[in-house]
């Protein structure tokens, strides 16, 4: 995922499967349902500790919901998103959130529909943003 690398952002995936299952899946071609070529780590939360710690374990199903966390360089969680099992995610959606989180570290705030290249709001001079961007 070069778009994440360009932003200095790493990716780590995790499920409650064993590392052996992960290895089989990573080696399986994509046209057979595999994820061959995936370069980021896939971790095995076989004891379900991480899933519990992050609050994304379905205790009834014994597996993790589609939880996603954007963690900043200080180790603090900036974004939390949890989807039910059938609802997949989008890398564009996640990239937008990474962009907004990174922009926020420059002391800016990111209004609705903020995206890379758009102007964020400087909270010390919000009026100028509104005069340029609000209709």
């Amino acid at each position: 995922m070069p778009e994440f690398k360009q932003r200095g952002c790493e990716i780590v995936g995790v499920s409650v499967d064993s590392k052996f299952s992960h290895q089989q899946w990573v080696n399986q071609p994509r046209n057979q349902g595999g994820i061959q070529g995936t370069a980021y780590p896939l971790l095995s939360d076989i004891k379900k500790t991480a899933s519990r710690d992050y609050g994304v374990l379905s205790e009834s199903a014994g597996i993790s919901f589609r939880g996603l966390f954007i963690i900043n360089p200080e180790g603090v969680i900036e974004v939390e998103m949890v989807n039910n099992f059938p609802i997949g995610r989008s890398s564009d959606e996640i990239l937008r959130l990474v962009d907004a989180a990174q922009e926020s570290k420059k002391g800016m705030v990111c209004p609705m529909n903020f995206a890379k290249g758009k102007e964020a709001i400087n909270p010390k001079d919000a009026k100028s943003w509104f005069s340029k961007n609000a209709k």
């Binding site: 995936g13 409650v16 399986q28 780590p41 971790l43 589609r66 360089p73 603090v76 969680i77 997949g88």
Partner: protein
């Protein structure tokens, strides 16, 4: 309870990186942005 604005819970887990078995911890990502995501099961979609 949301974890937003909280310190991310530590993890140290076995896994697969580029086809090889490896142990990975949150600590290795200090100083970097990280997208840490959970998914239900292998051989489904992410």
């Amino acid at each position: 309870m949301t974890l937003v604005s909280q310190k991310a819970p530590d993890f140290k887990l076995d896994g697969v990186v580029n086809g090889e078995f490896k142990t990975v911890s949150l600590e290795e990502y200090k100083g970097k942005w990280l997208v840490f995501f959970f998914y239900p099961l292998d051989f489904t979609f992410v």
